[in-house]
């Protein structure tokens, strides 16, 4: 459609050099086609070597038992072990809690902020936008350590609570509050990131649509639920899928804020895989089997989201 044909331009010439042009056109296209493959080949090789081949390697390893060089085919042993492993259950449970609670809170919050900031008449709009986006410039390790410090049991947050006469919250020693802390932290870091997507999507919406709706008597809530959300649907879907994939792979925050504790109360699948390989006696085969839970979950959840989100797109 685009590059490898010379439609409009070639017309006039065609009549002048009827026979020879056909040949040159053909060789030119062949030449372009060859360059096309050369240009994409390095990337294709690199992605194959560093993603697809390791992926197959992980699949093969997930059927192996035994340590290191003694690894041998073990059939479904690793996969059967998954069902009796309590840490896997804990990690899956935690991940789903993060997913079900954190992702919707963040997306709704980001949407509301975006609607408010999309108003030309709003004073201090640039300041609010920069302030809310600012957490995105921190590295995951950096912000995790800041959060760990602010929310430690005798940290600044609890000191502020004490100041207004409230009892301290055991952020890092109570499994419930530890999960709340992880959710607060992720929301802090990523809401502004999602906001940027929505704001850029809203710029594509014609203001006249809203004006027409206002004339018809639609209020702010109606405009939000009946117009903004449907119009932004593809972007909301995109951010939901990326957030889901991100949450399923959660590692940096949990590793640095709570180390997965207390009593595996915040542990995630990625972290358990890391521990299986580099903290406990290495068991690569079993770790790969655990990793395939994530692969399967990502595929299933993305498919569900695309089905739900894409249903009335036509």
């Amino acid at each position: 459609m685009n590059g490898n044909q010379f439609p409009a331009d070639g017309q006039g010439k065609n009549q002048m050099w009827k026979t020879s042009d056909k040949v040159t056109h053909h060789t030119l296209e062949k030449k372009l086609n060859r360059w096309g493959w050369i240009f994409v080949s390095l990337s294709a090789v690199l992605i194959s070597v560093f993603v697809f081949i390791p992926m197959v390697g992980a699949l093969i390893m997930s059927f192996q038992t035994g340590k290191g060089v003694n690894a041998h085919f073990g059939g479904l042993t690793n996969y059967i072990r998954l069902f009796t492993d309590q840490t896997v259950g804990k990690a899956l449970g935690n991940t789903f809690i993060y997913l079900i609670i954190q992702v919707p809170i963040m997306i709704v919050l980001a949407l509301i902020i975006s609607v408010l900031l999309n108003d030309d008449k709003l004073k201090g709009r640039t300041f609010f936008r920069i302030a809310i986006f600012l957490p995105c410039i921190t590295s995951l390790v950096s912000y995790s350590l800041i959060m760990k410090n602010i929310f430690s049991n005798d940290g600044i947050f609890n000191q502020m609570l004490a100041h207004i006469g409230l009892s301290p919250i055991l952020w890092t020693t109570d499994p419930f509050w530890a999960k709340v802390l992880i959710i607060i932290s992720i929301t802090w870091r990523w809401t502004g990131y999602n906001m940027v997507f929505y704001l850029s999507g809203m710029q594509g919406i014609e203001p006249s649509i809203y004006e027409a709706a206002e004339i018809d008597g639609a209020n702010a809530v109606k405009k939000f639920t009946h117009m903004t959300i449907p119009l932004l649907k593809p972007i909301i879907l995109f951010t939901t899928i990326t957030s889901t994939i991100g949450t399923l792979q959660l590692f940096d925050e949990v590793q640095n804020i709570t180390q997965g504790g207390p009593a595996n109360g915040t542990v995630t699948i990625s972290q358990y895989i890391y521990n299986l390989c580099f903290k406990y006696t290495p068991n690569f085969g079993y770790a790969c089997a655990v990793a395939f839970i994530v692969v399967i979950l990502i595929v299933i959840l993305s498919m569900i989201q695309m089905k739900v989100g894409g249903k009335d797109n036509q």
Partner: protein
């Protein structure tokens, strides 16, 4: 009318609270970097005079923080240059010379974005480990090579450059081809200069994700001298009695490059982040 006014006030209060919540951790980080560990623990909310002291203990700690800044910088810069080169060539190749077969290859490459890194980490670790054991010491674990290679080619960046190549004026290409320029020359002399802002945006995201990368360097770099900034900060944070004055000073240093990039090139910064959903 009155209802509208209260609503408007509520709106400002809501945004102000959110902004305060967003900014407070930065404020806390900067304040704490100038205070002693004891003052941080006591919740001191004003600037202190211990920044130099914190920086000095940071650079003199036995965790080689100074070396880690150099390591991170070298890794992030090499990764950015290679990633931009390789991905932009591919993005150009996929968009400018489209064919059915190449579209199919593109879709397969896009699938790689769905594969979680935790599934690749173990085979990659063994792959680089095997290379090191086979005597290829320059490309085994604990080398720059092992940290850089897995991140120099991402489907995200190829997708980004392909999207941007769509806006490249096609008649310029055709004119150049008729003039007999070969494709690599067209790419270098025409495409790259026109696409400068796309390169800037892609450079920012790539630099930032490399500079901040944690899990893979944690696995690949076991040698304390070779570690990157996030690894050192994480190690400091998980010690038995963390010195938060020093750690916050370290976090300030870790945040500076991305912070400067953001405030200097806001437009490209945001364009790079949202590049894939145009």
């Amino acid at each position: 009318m009155k209802r509208n006014k209260t609503l408007s006030v509520l709106k400002y209060i809501f945004l102000a609270v959110l902004s305060a919540v967003s900014i407070f951790p930065f404020f806390w980080m900067i304040i704490s970097a100038t205070n002693t560990a004891a003052e941080v623990n006591a919740g001191k909310l004003t600037f202190g005079a211990h920044l130099a002291e914190n920086l000095s203990s940071l650079f003199h700690s036995d965790l080689h923080f100074g070396a880690s800044v150099g390591n991170s910088m070298i890794i992030a810069l090499i990764t950015t240059v290679l990633a931009l080169l390789i991905s932009s060539v591919a993005g150009y190749g996929f968009e400018i010379f489209r064919s059915k077969a190449r579209d199919r290859v593109f879709n397969i490459l896009l699938l790689s974005m769905m594969i979680p890194f935790c599934a690749l980490m173990i085979p990659l670790y063994r792959m680089f480990g095997a290379a090191g054991k086979a005597g290829l010491t320059g490309i085994g674990l604990n080398t720059l090579f092992s940290v850089i290679m897995p991140s120099i080619c991402t489907a995200f960046l190829i997708f980004f450059f392909r999207q941007n190549a769509k806006s490249f004026p096609k008649d310029i290409l055709e004119a150049a081809r008729i003039d007999g320029l070969n494709e690599p020359r067209i790419f270098i002399h025409m495409y790259v200069p026109v696409m400068k802002s796309s390169y800037a945006a892609a450079a920012i995201v790539t630099f930032m994700s490399s500079w901040n990368n944690y899990l893979w360097p944690l696995v690949a770099l076991q040698d304390p001298q070779k570690r990157t900034v996030p690894l050192i900060l994480s190690a400091m944070g998980s010690s038995y009695t963390p010195d938060y004055g020093m750690i916050m000073a370290g976090i300030v240093i870790a945040t500076l490059p991305t912070g400067i990039l953001f405030f200097m090139m806001q437009k490209q910064f945001v364009a790079g982040m949202i590049g894939s959903v145009k």
